[in-house]
């Protein structure tokens, strides 16, 4: 179950530049972020930590991000998770419909994803507005810390 007082986002991309930009853009996010770099890692973390929101690149090493999305959405423990799939490759209406209907994503994003787009996703899925003051309230956890914290709830 998610902890509404400390929402958890899992960000998945094999591009470290994306992780650095997203971490900076979401510095004022009033919750926790964890980062994964391939599909298998994302699936494992998703099952253990049960994030409230998964933001994943579609094209990932080891396991397609869209398959990660679909798998987690179809498992009872993670079915309530919100999922945003981002892609630079699978662009256009056909891929958008596929992401939303076949892979069960809630949101489909075409890269590059800007900080404004990220916050729009958070507002739509977690109903959390972007803080006006740019104070850093986000705690970034290692995957192990996130699992341990969730297990204690």
């Amino acid at each position: 179950m998610s902890d509404e007082s400390r929402p958890l986002i899992l960000i998945v991309d094999d591009d470290r530049v994306v992780h650095a930009i997203f971490a900076r853009a979401l510095a004022s996010f009033p919750g926790t972020m964890i980062h994964a770099h391939d599909g298998q890692e994302a699936l494992a973390i998703g099952r253990e930590a049960r994030p409230d929101l998964l933001i994943t690149d579609a094209l990932l090493p080891k396991l397609d991000g869209r398959m990660v999305a679909r798998t987690l959405k179809m498992e009872p423990a993670t079915s309530a998770m919100k999922v945003a799939v981002m892609t630079a490759l699978y662009k256009g209406a056909r891929y958008r419909n596929e992401a939303l209907h076949d892979f069960l994503a809630d949101i489909y994003l075409e890269k590059p994803v800007s900080p404004d787009m990220l916050w729009e996703v958070i507002e739509k899925t977690l109903h959390i507005s972007r803080p006006i003051a740019a104070s850093s309230s986000t705690h970034e956890m290692s995957p192990i810390e996130a699992v341990q914290e969730r297990g204690a709830m």
Partner: protein, 149 residues
């Protein structure tokens, strides 16, 4: 029409898009080391991706080549290396369309573009280290016509 296989002609151009760089600097407004660190991450990652792409092409592994240039293109776009990103996109499309034929031409173009990006990044980082938070482009960059030809 832009031809990714040919050297650029006309006025010199920057390898990094000014608006993208400005946006990244603005993003790192509260963190003086963000911009410089981000560019360091990009170079470290991209050195590996260019090496992977070269090795894949030499081994005729078109799938791996395609994955490497796709990743390099996406990352490059994020830091404003738009011309390099365009070369990567062209390389990826060519790989899929022709099963790798012609990719050797683009790997050379890609390497030239990447070296230009690295050079500019090193200059930007050098300025950033000496003048943290400085939003101005260094004098070296001023007076250069930014328009594509």
């Amino acid at each position: 029409m832009f031809d990714e296989t040919q050297p650029m002609k006309g006025p010199a151009r920057l390898a990094l898009d000014r608006d993208s760089i400005a946006s990244l600097r603005e993003l790192g407004e509260d963190d003086p080391s963000f911009f410089s660190d981000l560019l360091a991450v990009y170079i470290q990652q991209s050195d590996l991706l260019v090496a992977r792409a070269s090795e894949a092409l030499a081994a005729s592994d078109i799938d791996e080549w395609s994955r490497a240039v796709h990743s390099l293109g996406g990352s490059s776009r994020n830091i404003g290396a738009l011309h390099l990103a365009a070369v990567c996109t062209a390389a990826e499309k060519l790989a899929h369309a022709s099963n790798g034929a012609g990719s050797f031409v683009l790997i050379n173009r890609l390497k030239i573009e990447y070296e230009a990006v690295k050079k500019e990044i090193h200059m930007l980082r050098a300025v950033e280290i000496r003048h943290p938070g400085n939003r101005e482009f260094p004098p070296l960059f001023q007076g250069i016509d930014l328009k594509e030809v």
